[in-house]
């Protein structure tokens, strides 16, 4: 079956689709950016879907196509193997598996897209969490023949845990169920039942055939019963601006800029990225953890002074008063600031071979801040297939998700992750190997 399905690509291979429309570049200077992640289990056609999106949006170049063809031949694959396009490392190609997250890029006249392509099996929780951490949207692939399986639920759980606001469930291989509505409805029902336990607001369902292209870029004539949008239309039009936090002013200070030149003799600016809220000159601010207050004097940039700054702009801010501010501090509002706390309650995903050591010391990184910390305990481990809390199994190893509490050596200015992804996320670093061992979300 696989061979027949793959051959479809051959036929249209040299169709003149590589050339981009000239109009394209004219519209290109001012586009949106959407980051999404793709999740699916083995053989659900994820590579084919990504291949299809890139192919139909003319993002696969001739030399890439030729290279894939050549390696397919050399490997003895009878047909074009599109997974070779996404599998970048030698070991991946040799073993026919994807080891690591790969990033792919394509653009349409409306939007530029960054895909975090995460592997279906090996290390998959770790990789999906990584890919999901920066994604606006997640595509979850379900094989129309198999329905909602354990892995589907895991994907949905991770997406909700990482608070991806938009979920697109692509019911793939509709051609293999004769484009019938029933299997699609059944999957929709099952998925909705499972996700009612999760906190995801925007879930869309699209019946597709990644291989044949139905409802991927072009609307399918094989499924007249489906009135919704195609996948690409959905990706191009989903509203993501309101996903940022414009309410709670948060500015993690990355560094102090002091030119000490003749022109900028007394200049003292604070560099950083706006992680929440909108800042304007004249605004009252409070610096955490000191609690000192001042007013914004100016917002500086290479292009000149700015009237306002909002997420996720990288700027440089000057204040009216000369107060002690350094890297790791957070500039907030007098009446809206996170508590400076040393005790943190976290959901963590463990990313490393060596398991979490209760009582162990780690480095914690949060925004531009860093501190030593000690893990005080594990509250429970999560069974990510059933969503049960395992209170008698508290061993957190590679790819496990669990709730822990720790104490940091100095106060950190954290928000709950659900309120702000930037100021609610942390990583733990092993003090001896220097490896990033855990991703944490503040409860």
């Amino acid at each position: 079956m696989t061979n027949v399905r793959k051959r479809q690509w051959k036929k249209e291979k040299y169709k003149d689709t590589f050339r981009m429309d000239q109009e394209f570049s004219k519209n290109y200077l001012d586009m949106d950016l959407l980051r999404f992640t793709t999740a699916g289990s083995v053989d659900d056609g994820k590579s084919t879907l990504i291949g299809r999106l890139m192919y139909d949006s003319k993002s696969i170049f001739e030399d890439q196509m030729e290279a894939i063809e050549e390696s397919s031949k050399r490997r003895g694959d009878e047909n074009l193997n599109l997974a070779l396009l996404t599998d970048g490392l030698k070991a991946e190609r040799e073993q026919g598996i994807t080891i690591d997250v790969a990033y792919r890029y394509f653009a349409t006249p409306r939007r530029k897209f960054i895909i975090a392509d995460t592997p279906g099996h090996i290390q998959y929780t770790r990789n999906m969490v990584t890919g999901a951490s920066t994604a606006n949207l997640a595509i979850i692939l379900v094989d129309a023949r198999n329905g909602v399986i354990e892995q589907t639920c895991r994907h949905a759980f991770i997406a909700s845990l990482l608070r991806i606001k938009h979920l697109v469930v692509c019911v793939n291989k509709m051609d293999l169920v004769d484009f019938q509505e029933e299997p699609f409805l059944k999957i929709q029902e099952e998925f909705a039942a499972f996700t009612s336990k999760l906190d995801i607001t925007d879930i869309r369902y699209i019946p597709i055939s990644a291989l044949k292209g139905d409802n991927v870029v072009d609307k399918s004539s094989n499924m007249p019963w489906y009135n919704g949008a195609t996948l690409l239309y959905t990706l191009e039009n989903v509203q993501i601006a309101s996903d940022r936090n414009f309410i709670d002013g948060r500015f993690g200070v990355q560094g102090v800029i002091r030119p000490m030149s003749d022109k900028y003799h007394d200049f003292r600016g604070y560099s950083g990225k706006v992680e929440g809220g909108i800042f304007r000159p004249g605004d009252e601010v409070m610096v955490m953890p000191s609690g000192l207050t001042s007013k914004i004097k100016s917002i500086e940039s290479f292009e000149g002074q700015l009237k306002e700054a909002f997420p996720p702009m990288s700027i440089c801010m000057t204040l009216e008063d000369d107060i002690d501010i350094s890297r790791g501090d957070m500039i907030c509002r007098p009446n809206n600031h996170p508590d400076a706390t040393q005790d943190l309650d976290l959901m963590v995903c463990w990313l490393n071979q060596s398991a979490l050591k209760p009582g162990g010391k780690y480095l914690i990184r949060h925004s531009s801040n860093e501190a030593r910390c000690v893990v005080k305990g594990v509250r429970y481990k999560m069974d990510i297939n059933t969503l049960h809390r395992l209170e008698d199994d508290r061993e957190i190893g590679l790819n496990d998700i669990g709730r822990i509490f720790l104490r940091a050596a100095k106060p950190l200015m954290v928000d709950p992750y659900k309120k702000n992804r930037n100021t609610g996320s942390v990583i733990l670093v092993d003090e001896f190997t220097n490896e990033t061992v855990a991703a944490g979300m503040v409860i």
């Binding site: 030399d63 490392l89 690591d100 990033y103 530029k112 600016g269 500086e300 990288s314 990583i427 220097n434």
Partner: protein
């Protein structure tokens, strides 16, 4: 907040990519003791310099630029390098592959277009070690090549300067981990998420001047296996080959021995953008160094290549 109000708080993709790159630059300045910006004179590193200027404005770029000179560079590119370093007021360090060869630390390749591409890694690692740099910032992009698609923003290198692609640190949110042991260093890629098109659009938006060889000009070239190589002292003509004058430009700048030209009349950034938009071959398709094997880039990167 109503959708109407929100509309003005949209940032274009170029602004988002710029903000991300600036953030990375500032993290490098804060997390490392002695960073260096690897400057090749190519368009990607030219963008990097502009981004570094923005990251620390109104202060100067707080680290030097380093160029690994293979000796096979286009003269236009060297000229541009010198004037840019002067303009931004940055210290320019040049380390030359010829010196490495003269010191007996590397051997020149044989053949009709001997490439110094692989041995420049030795010069680069020597330079990093000699001057004690702990972070080398480069303009590599993930869309360039399949091994680079797996690259991190903060990419760890062991004490031999080697990359272990199968054992990389996960990178989540905007949290970058630059912790290392003595003798190790990091490669940092602030424009990882940019595509070739983004770079060109950014150059257009920022009106950044470029070396002249990116634009259409007449040049004597030889067609070798479909690649147009410029006439230079480093190329030996094979039997049956001859130079001919063509109207060409370069999409990417590497050594004269391995960078192919494209026939093009594109004379302005806008022309180039049009051309890139309709291109059917990736920019590295003109690079002989990548064609040597399927994993050519990965193997070079493991050895310490940039």
């Amino acid at each position: 907040m109503s959708p109407h109000e929100l509309h003005s708080y949209n940032l274009s993709h170029l602004k988002l990519l710029e903000s991300e790159a600036i953030y990375i630059f500032r993290e490098v300045a804060a997390q490392f003791e002695k960073p260096v910006l690897l400057f090749s004179g190519g368009k990607d590193s030219i963008c990097l310099v502009r981004l570094a200027q923005k990251a620390f404005f109104p202060a100067k770029i707080p680290f030097p630029l380093m160029h690994v000179d293979t000796g096979h560079n286009f003269p236009e590119s060297i000229e541009y390098r010198d004037s840019l370093a002067k303009e931004v007021g940055a210290e320019l360090i040049v380390r030359s592959v010829q010196d490495t060869i003269d010191q007996g630390r590397a051997q020149e390749e044989k053949g009709p277009n001997p490439s110094r591409n692989a041995i420049q890694s030795i010069t680069l690692l020597d330079g990093i070690e000699e001057l004690g740099f702990d972070a080398a910032i480069g303009g590599a992009r993930r869309d360039e090549e399949k091994a680079r698609a797996k690259e991190r923003f903060f990419s760890h290198r062991d004490e031999f300067g080697a990359w272990d692609p199968k054992n990389q640190r996960p990178e989540l949110w905007n949290l970058y981990n630059g912790k290392k042991q003595m003798g190790e260093h990091f490669r940092v890629f602030p424009i990882s998420n940019w595509t070739e098109m983004d770079v060109w659009q950014y150059i257009a938006q920022e009106e950044i001047p470029l070396p002249s060889i990116y634009f259409s000009h007449k040049r004597e070239v030889v067609d070798r296996d479909g690649m147009l190589l410029a006439k230079s002292d480093f190329i030996t003509l094979l039997k049956g080959e001859q130079y001919e004058e063509k109207v060409i430009r370069y999409r990417t700048l590497g050594d004269m021995t391995c960078t192919g030209a494209v026939e093009s009349e594109a004379n302005s950034i806008e022309d180039i953008i049009q051309e890139v938009a309709s291109a059917r071959i990736t920019e590295r398709g003109g690079r002989a160094d990548d064609k040597r094997s399927e994993a050519a880039m990965e193997e070079r990167k493991i050895q310490g290549y940039f």
